[in-house]
């Protein structure tokens, strides 16, 4: 139907109030505050320019957090996409109870990152875990938990994240794969395309927008990684698994260094918004084509 001005107000006002009050206004006020010495615990506020950002950037802990999250994102997101896509591809042809398969496979994603951290903490360590059980089976000696190891902690945290998120990717990609017309697959089969060629020449081009959308969500999620690491390693050992979100939270709420915490929070936002601009650009190219 044709919307009048009044209709539009009625439709958009509730969302505007919700997002304005609980997201946009706090975020913008917070951004302004990062250029001052503002903290809820002090009474005097002075303009301080980029001093807070300088403090964040010069902090070697934040540097370690940036390196960790770069590795984390560059390894975890492609793995999540590849594994999630692979399982969705296997489910693409009609089979009995496909909708049920889709939600059964979703189980790891239903485990909250916090609960997942608790669970893997126990599964990796001690005689009750899966790791020592598997090693015992192979008649190998028991090992210390990889989450306490300086070099293994980050890869382990990545593996746990992939376990949790890859099923969610399958869940998101399956409706897209299912909606590709059968004729497209048949053409490819008649042309003698292997399964790999079918993926490259049929699935990926057809799902380009959906893949971009899912990738955007995953990158955003990954750059904000907090809950999953909090219990699993707490950012350690040392700074081996520290992430910018953990850094930011620690500064603002634990060491009472509010301005530094808020400024580093905004650096996370800036990173996601930059990725978001690339996403909007790429998704629009598709429209133009």
């Amino acid at each position: 139907m044709r919307l009048t001005r009044r209709d539009r107000t009625v439709l958009f006002a509730p969302l505007a109030v919700l997002l304005g009050g609980w997201l946009v206004v706090p975020a913008v006020l917070g951004l302004v505050a990062t250029f001052t010495t503002y903290s809820p615990f002090t009474t005097t506020v002075r303009f301080s320019g980029f001093a807070n950002y300088a403090a964040v950037v010069q902090d070697p802990q934040f540097g370690a957090a940036i390196r960790n999250i770069a590795v984390f994102t560059l390894v975890a997101v492609p793995l999540e996409l590849a594994i999630g896509f692979g399982i969705a591809y296997l489910l693409r042809r009609p089979m009995k109870g496909r909708a049920l398969w889709r939600v059964l496979l979703l189980a790891p994603w239903l485990v909250s990152p916090i609960a997942g951290g608790v669970m893997w903490h126990f599964l990796f360590s001690g005689s009750t875990g899966m790791l020592d059980f598997a090693l015992g089976w192979l008649r190998l000696p028991e090992v210390a938990s990889p989450i306490g190891d300086l070099r293994l902690a980050l890869p382990t945290a990545i593996a746990v994240e992939v376990w949790r998120v890859a099923p969610f990717v399958t869940f998101l990609l399956l409706p897209g794969l299912v909606s590709i017309p059968n004729a497209r697959w048949e053409e490819a089969t008649l042309a003698g395309a292997s399964w790999f060629q079918q993926i490259v020449h049929v699935a990926v081009p057809e799902l380009r927008t959906l893949l971009l959308t899912v990738a955007m969500l995953l990158v955003g999620l990954s750059l904000g990684t907090f809950d999953g690491i909090l219990i699993l390693t707490g950012g350690g050992p040392g700074t081996a698994t520290l992430t910018p979100a953990l850094y930011s939270y620690g500064r603002a709420f634990q060491t009472n260094d509010w301005p530094v915490g808020a400024a580093s929070g905004w650096l996370i936002a800036a990173g996601v918004i930059a990725v978001g601009l690339i996403y909007v650009r790429l998704a629009r190219e598709r429209v133009a084509a």
């Binding site: 439709l11 939600v103 239903l110 608790v118 669970m119 869940f171 969500l217 904000g224």
Partner: protein
């Protein structure tokens, strides 16, 4: 055939850690030398949750109620806005919708520090309403994106017919649009319920003990007392996972309607 075998292998690989946890919750623990299982089947560890964390059952109720209201509020508000976007003549409507996806990807950590400050100043810290509204705001952008996809697929002709019959905006929404997209709304609400139920940072930062959800309770517990018995922790994990597992299994047909904007690739390509 190979396909089914690979799928079953994938299912086993992804679910094995959860099976391990279920066994531990019922008192069955592995032994490494030689690899075997020990312990006897018991429900006792579920009773011990309340001893280890006295407020656990209260947290379960709080999580359920806050996730329910936050999901309902977000889906309701997002439905109105998504309809507005889908029926706007604005050419930028598509870009605006993609903007909502970027907003949905924004980690809570990016703005939760100033949010906690603002909430304290308006006295919404440690209130049920504060948690519900903040969780709804976090998840609403994703709901707008998904529902816009569902609404853009509807043919406007039905709505025009209702308008000719003299229906206003709410008549059209209630009698024509809502019945057609109800499954999409329900599917989206279920996904949002899961996200809200598992959310840590928002309730963690906006409360100070008065209101407590399960993830906050778990993070408190493991920060201060790491010497928890694994079987009790496993029982708590299973109890906090069971409602979600039940929800998505019972409503798995509705979740078929949850998809990230298929029409975007479809009507153009």
């Amino acid at each position: 055939m190979t396909r089914v075998i690979v799928l079953i292998a994938a299912l086993v690989a992804f679910l094995l850690p959860l099976v391990w946890t279920v066994l531990a919750a019922f008192g069955l623990l592995p032994d490494t030398t030689p690899p075997s299982w020990k312990g006897s089947l018991t429900f006792g560890h579920f009773a011990e949750i309340g001893v280890a964390e006295p407020t656990f059952w209260q947290e379960l109720a709080t999580s359920t109620a806050s996730a329910f209201f936050a999901a309902a509020l977000a889906v309701g508000v997002a439905f109105l806005a998504a309809y507005g976007l889908a029926r706007s003549r604005v050419r930028a409507g598509r870009t605006l919708t993609q903007g909502f996806l970027v907003l949905a990807s924004l980690p809570v950590m990016a703005y939760v520090i100033p949010l906690s400050d603002v909430m304290r100043r308006v006295h919404l810290v440690d209130t049920f309403a504060g948690v519900v509204l903040a969780e709804a705001a976090v998840t609403a952008p994703l709901a707008v994106f998904v529902l816009h996809g569902a609404l853009a697929q509807l043919s406007p002709e039905w709505e025009e017919a209702a308008v000719l019959d003299g229906a206003g905006l709410f008549g059209v929404l209630g009698r024509v649009v809502l019945p057609l997209v109800a499954p999409s709304l329900a599917g989206t609400a279920i996904v949002l319920f899961v996200l809200d139920w598992n959310m840590l940072l928002v309730p963690l930062v906006l409360t100070s003990g008065g209101i407590k959800t399960i993830p906050v309770g778990m993070s408190d517990f493991f920060t201060f007392e790491r010497e928890l018995d694994w079987r009790t922790a496993a029982a708590a994990l299973i109890v906090s996972l069971a409602p979600l597992a039940l929800l998505v299994t019972v409503f798995h047909r509705l979740l078929e309607r949850f998809s990230l904007g298929l029409e975007i690739g479809r009507d153009i390509g």
